[in-house]
């Protein structure tokens, strides 16, 4: 009997132990290693979305160097771009944000507004010489929360051989763009390729024509925005741009251009490494045309900002701020811009960079007047950006005229 009792009791004790242990094990997942502020900081954690080569290594090397300079080792985590925000939100609710956090610039206000980020002025990080658009992208309610070492934007790429053969010069106005696109469309080849898909990418590619013509994202049912949408619609309707643009990503657009199926494309400098892998492809880059000669081409600002989350540990935050400052040093901006085909965000460096890297001269020029997507609307940008791409899709599919499409979308 004794032995029988023991056999029942032992598993019972085990089961009870397991039950008691379960919540402990679960809660252990949520807590970060607690380091007291008085201890010397030896390691700081970093999270970014550069999970593909070559950016993964470029950014990794810069981080390692900055870590060494600040006397800490870097524990870096790279996540896919699409899952970064959900990961950040998870971490902010479990208070496990990394010490240094990279964010895509249109997401910054969204996160800063939650109170999860520390203003960079707390750490006396200098914001001198940064281009105005870059600073506004990193600012929420008059406080700078993030700085981008390098930035990018979009412009018009053209295939030199195809344009030469057709006797077409790169267009500078909308009329020229329409005429050139029509002339360059023949057989398998479209004159122009852009992306008008129902995501923020579609909105992003439309912004240059909208902004250059004086359109404003706060109120999209205006004459200026309507004219811009009319241009996009005309280009698709006349067949100069494939209606596949409604479903393409920027990568698809680049593939069309590289395959010679589009004579011109709207795209960014991050495609340059891919384009350069095909030595037979001779291309040039100009600003995206404006409606009338004399208008300023206003491009949207792209790029990622580096921030210091409110982790509650002052010593670690100070070290994290040192790393963010270091990433934004003159030397690092120039080096990163060169290897990553992006533009230094300090205006003082841009001139020098343009002369050293003539391939990026157009982009460097554009950055001076480039606007941040969240500059006016802050955390309200996603809702408005959704309206813009909805209007683009409605007009491009012919479901409504540009004017009606914009009116419908604005009223949504």
């Amino acid at each position: 009997m004794k032995s029988a009792q023991r056999t029942t009791r032992r598993p019972l004790a085990l089961a009870v132990a397991a039950l008691v242990g379960l919540p402990l094990a679960l809660s252990a997942c949520g807590t970060s290693p607690a380091a007291s502020s008085s201890e010397a900081v030896k390691e700081i954690s970093v999270m970014d979305y550069y999970n593909n080569e070559p950016d993964k290594s470029f950014i990794g090397d810069a981080l390692t160097k900055c870590g060494t300079q600040a006397g800490v080792t870097i524990k870096r985590e790279t996540v896919p771009g699409k899952s970064l925000i959900s990961k950040v939100l998870q971490q902010s609710s479990s208070k496990t944000l990394p010490d240094v956090l990279m964010l895509d610039n249109p997401d910054l206000q969204q996160i800063a507004a939650t109170g999860a980020l520390a203003p960079l002025s707390d750490f006396k990080i200098s914001t001198d010489n940064f281009a105005e658009g870059v600073l506004s992208a990193g600012t929420d309610k008059d406080k700078v929360y993030g700085l981008a070492p390098t930035v990018n934007t979009i412009a018009l790429f053209y295939n030199k051989d195809i344009l030469d053969k057709a006797g077409v010069t790169p267009p500078t106005t909308w009329d020229e763009l329409k005429a050139a696109s029509a002339k360059l469309t023949a057989g398998d080849q479209y004159g122009l390729a852009f992306n008008a898909n129902p995501t923020y990418e579609g909105t992003w590619q439309f912004l240059p024509v909208m902004w250059s013509n004086g359109g404003d994202e706060k109120k999209i049912d205006t004459k200026e925005t309507e004219q811009a949408l009319q241009l996009w619609t005309d280009l698709v309707k006349s067949g100069s741009v494939s209606s596949s643009a409604l479903n393409w990503t920027q990568a698809d657009v680049k593939d069309q251009f590289m395959a010679g199926k589009a004579a011109m494309m709207v795209n960014g400098p991050w495609q340059i490494p891919a384009l350069d892998k095909q030595p037979t492809l001779q291309y040039g880059v100009v600003k995206i045309p404006v409606r009338e000669a004399g208008q300023t081409s206003v491009a949207p600002l792209g790029g990622e900002v580096w921030t210091v989350p409110q982790t509650g540990n002052k010593a670690r935050q100070a070290k994290a701020a040192e790393v963010v400052a270091c990433l934004n040093s003159d030397e690092n901006q120039m080096a990163m811009a060169k290897v990553r085909n992006t533009i230094p965000s300090k205006t003082t460096l841009a001139e020098k960079f343009a002369t050293e890297n003539p391939k990026l001269a157009t982009f460097t020029e554009l950055i001076k007047t480039a606007r941040a997507r969240t500059g006016e609307l802050g955390a309200d940008w996603p809702a408005q950006a959704t309206k813009i791409y909805t209007a683009i899709q409605t007009a491009l599919t012919g479901n409504a005229s540009p004017a009606d499409a914009l009116k419908q979308a604005q009223g949504q």
Partner: protein
């Protein structure tokens, strides 16, 4: 309730047997009726009962954590103004039914609801009919039968993201394989805008979803067909029931229980399809492939309106529940009969 008592009884029965075996090992005879009445034996039984319940605890904890919590959280969230700030501050003011009002009165809701219905009905119809036809076809004995059947499972084994990426390329207007093929056959002159025309996109998406769903239908229905005894067909053929008649009077009635499982699971599964639509069209062009599932995803994870996303998600849950209840009632009736 009856379910849990049933469970505990069967569990008690099996562990009782195991205990009996264990005592036999120690040279004691298996429990005789008189011994079962002793108080010692009774306390031991009670202890065993507690022990049995403890075995249920992990399952209950698991269900509460990974099933109960999200569902409850989603319901609560739908009555709150839940923003990105909530994640950091934990503050989410109550807004009553405001999220439901916003979501249900938005001009997009009727479009999404209609698309969800068309997508679900179209997908289920196609998957089931083709799946059943193939299942019947594979009942015949012919060379390479097994290999062909396993090849047909392929769409099921591929990650949905891969399938949708490949189909997006196949269905491309200018360089897609399908248009090339149709062009070579002389069926079409210009590229068909499968994914970029508001009238074709939904059809194309349904088509891809049918392709993905065929293996599931084929497998389950094939299994159901194997269960039907050959004698029935032999007897039927003596009475002149062959071909269509045999299907109508033998196969279909015998297959009914399996059919209801396949259809209900298929509906619930199809209602919440997300990856395929996002991968193929992102809900476009001009919302022509937007379903309740994709709209809820967009609201939550792109526009950061978590309260509205949750409200719309709950609407979808309720629609699924209707089918789940129908299924449970149907299966209970089958058991009762």
């Amino acid at each position: 309730m009856s379910l849990t008592t049933d469970l505990s009884q069967t569990a008690a029965g099996s562990t009782g047997k195991a205990a009996g075996k264990a005592t036999r090992k120690h040279g004691r005879p298996a429990g005789s009726p008189t011994e079962a009445q002793t108080p010692r034996r009774r306390t031991r039984q009670r202890r065993e009962r507690i022990f049995q319940w403890l075995f249920l605890v992990p399952a209950v904890v698991y269900m509460a954590l990974f099933f109960g919590y999200p569902v409850v959280k989603n319901v609560v969230m739908s009555f709150q103004d839940y923003t990105t700030a909530t994640f950091f501050t934990g503050e989410a003011p109550w807004v009553g039914l405001a999220n439901y009002v916003t979501v249900l009165s938005s001009s997009l809701f009727s479009t999404s609801l209609l698309n969800t219905a068309l997508f679900t009905v179209g997908s289920i119809l196609g998957q089931f009919v083709i799946g059943l036809a193939l299942a019947i076809f594979f009942q015949r004995k012919f060379p390479l039968n097994g290999i062909l059947r396993s090849l047909l499972l392929l769409p099921w084994l591929l990650p949905l993201i891969v399938s949708s990426a490949v189909w997006r390329w196949i269905l491309d207007k200018d360089s897609g394989a399908l248009n090339r093929f149709l062009g070579d056959l002389g069926v079409i002159n210009t590229g068909v805008p499968w994914l970029t025309s508001t009238s074709l996109a939904l059809i194309a998406v349904v088509g891809v979803n049918i392709w993905i769903g065929i293996p599931f239908n084929l497998t389950i229905l094939y299994g159901g067909l194997q269960e039907i005894p050959d004698e029935l067909y032999e007897a039927g053929s003596l009475d002149g029931a062959t071909g269509w008649k045999a299907f109508r009077h033998i196969t279909w009635p015998m297959l009914r229980p399996v059919v209801s499982v396949v259809l209900v699971l298929g509906v619930v599964y199809t209602l919440k399809v997300l990856d395929i639509i996002l991968g193929l069209t992102n809900g476009g062009p001009a919302n022509s492939t937007q379903t309740i599932a994709t709209q809820s995803y967009d609201l939550s994870f792109h526009e950061f309106k978590f309260g509205e996303g949750a409200a719309l998600g709950n609407v979808l849950v309720i629609i699924s529940l209707v089918f789940a209840v129908l299924y449970l009632r149907a299966s209970r009736r089958a058991v009762d009969e």
